[in-house]
Amino acid sequence: MKEYESIFVLDPGVDDAQVDAELEKIQDFITGRDGEITEIQKWGRRKLAYEIRKKREGIYTLIRFRGGPSLPAELDRRYRLNENIMRHLTVVYEAPPEGERPRVSQETQRTTEAAPAKMEAAPAKGEGAPAPGESDKKEEA
């Protein structure tokens, strides 16, 4: 089984409860096909680099999972059928080398179990999202 990393971008018109519902559906889809979810990151609302469907914003969610070789293709199909999903990408997970902090480290939810506890924090992340990146920048300087 390979480990994959999948990100999907929801339409900004979707409300928070529905975001969680969509995420849950995707999770169930993966686990229902013998996949094992290893990490979930809610990036929340983020500015898009270009307009999609006349929108300038999207709700980003990352799922990391282990699964069989056909799972990414099935997931892809699943994404396409969902009209709320504006963009999606599934790639083979490449672990960053030791010591390198992942991009959205602080607000990351490591396990599925931890996800509900953090749900309240997620909406605020629209503004909070750039913060981890900014701290990255300072380290560079």
Binding site: A49, Y60, R87, E94, P97, E100, P102, D136
Partner: protein
């Protein structure tokens, strides 16, 4: 023709900045770090300009293309048009 030319400009030797920084992993999710490999118009800076080595250029290019799919990075700048 070459005879009449002015003194050639001495170019500073280019080097791969990523090799210099010993970067081994380029994350497509880290659009801030990728930004420096884009021109102001959002194009990928070619190796002949940036001086990147083949390996790093390939990694950067792949990361940028992935980031573009997710609208983390632009395909082109909005200002022009």
């Amino acid at each position: 023709m070459a005879r009449g030319r002015k003194a050639p400009r001495v170019a500073k030797k280019k080097y791969c900045k990523l090799c210099f920084e010993k970067v081994t992993f380029i994350d497509y999710k880290d659009e801030r770090k990728l930004q420096r490999f884009l021109t102001d118009h959002g194009k990928i800076v070619p190796r002949r300009v940036s001086g990147s080595c083949a390996r790093h250029q390939a990694q950067v290019t792949r990361a940028i293309k992935r980031a573009r799919i997710l609208a983390l990075l632009p395909y082109t700048s909005d200002q022009i048009r």
